[in-house]
Symmetry: C2
Subunit: 241 residues, 2 copies
Amino acid sequence: MKLLLLSNSRSPDGGYLTHAHEAIAEIAGACKQAVFIPFAGVTVEWDDYLHKVQEVFSILGIDVQSAHCVSNPVALLEQAQIIVVGGGNTFNLLKHCRELGLLPVISQRVLAGVPYIGWSAGANLACPSICTTNDMPIVDPKGFDALGLIPFQLNPHYTNASPNGHQGETRDQRIAEYLAANSSQCVLGLPEGDWLRITDSAVQLNGSWPAQLFEAGKAPQTLTSPATLYLDAMRLKPFVR
Amino acid sequence: MKLLLLSNSRSPDGGYLTHAHEAIAEIAGACKQAVFIPFAGVTVEWDDYLHKVQEVFSILGIDVQSAHCVSNPVALLEQAQIIVVGGGNTFNLLKHCRELGLLPVISQRVLAGVPYIGWSAGANLACPSICTTNDMPIVDPKGFDALGLIPFQLNPHYTNASPNGHQGETRDQRIAEYLAANSSQCVLGLPEGDWLRITDSAVQLNGSWPAQLFEAGKAPQTLTSPATLYLDAMRLKPFVR
């Protein structure tokens, strides 16, 4: 399995996916045809979203077709050499993927070795569920279960900072609530600018900022980046060997 | 109908519901028996949550029983003189209310004139859906439709401020996404410290900070507080006359 899961799309310098060029080139290898899933986009036209992504991938010599441009996106995904899932609203993404019947074909293709690249909502979609998204539940996806390509949860755009004076929950409090309701899971808080490169045997944490690992009943653990993480025997939990 | 919907539980001075004492006393009137719904609490024990709320209401001479302490919470709510719904996680709140069959009885009682007091998640529950909550979707409530006691959506803890450098969506962007997917609705962003006192004919906005009204295709409108708002003929939209 080959996954590239990014916290977010913007490089710290403000460039769109510029921090991910090398990682995208590496995971793509010799593959030159990608299928894009734009359904997390809500306030952006999917055509515009596609063009933005095509600009980045064309630099790397990769052609991108979008699932929203064809009458049979399942057939398109069956032929995909690379699957790319963009960020936006995770609920909108999951709703459309479920309604179009895309979840099984994405899983099958990725388990068969097709590289999966996702950022923000696209990283959430790779998790067992979308329960650790930061997004507003603007539409009902009719179930929170997602692709389950990785056995743990991600929290993209991870930070525990709050606007000055904010009295709502901090991010850490939200994740603690998730773990109180889902004690067997664990959550990796992935700060902006970081990403995971995942194979069958290990998880490579990359980017300049430490990630934060949350488990029920334990203090959060800071994971320095870069680092190679492994999965425990239950495959639920990444750890540094 | 008598509703008191607060953005949040903490007064600007840090006291628990202290800013709401007068408003609670006013809506309670001669009623001295309240039923509390603690199910938004996730990392707090419901007994502890009840005690915290009892402390506040006892100052006002109001007895509070909790729905989690009885074998038949529907029967308890059928006898309630006041219904109080606390904040926490909106998904957890809606899930438990749905599973326990509390939504119909709460609606019936409030439509029959029983005062409803809710803060944060408890204010979200009074809306047509929980789609404008800020909370993490830690559990699946099996549908986002809520009590629908008011015809518009609230966004509690409203602020458009973000932590420094944050590249995820701002609150205004999240609300714009909601409106893009739900264009017939409108959303009132209620800043911390503010509250609504709602009757059948009008909505009184209280507290020291302006609220923000969002509609699809329009610039957000700042509503100075305090103000009396009215509902349009379609009852979807509050406005200043």
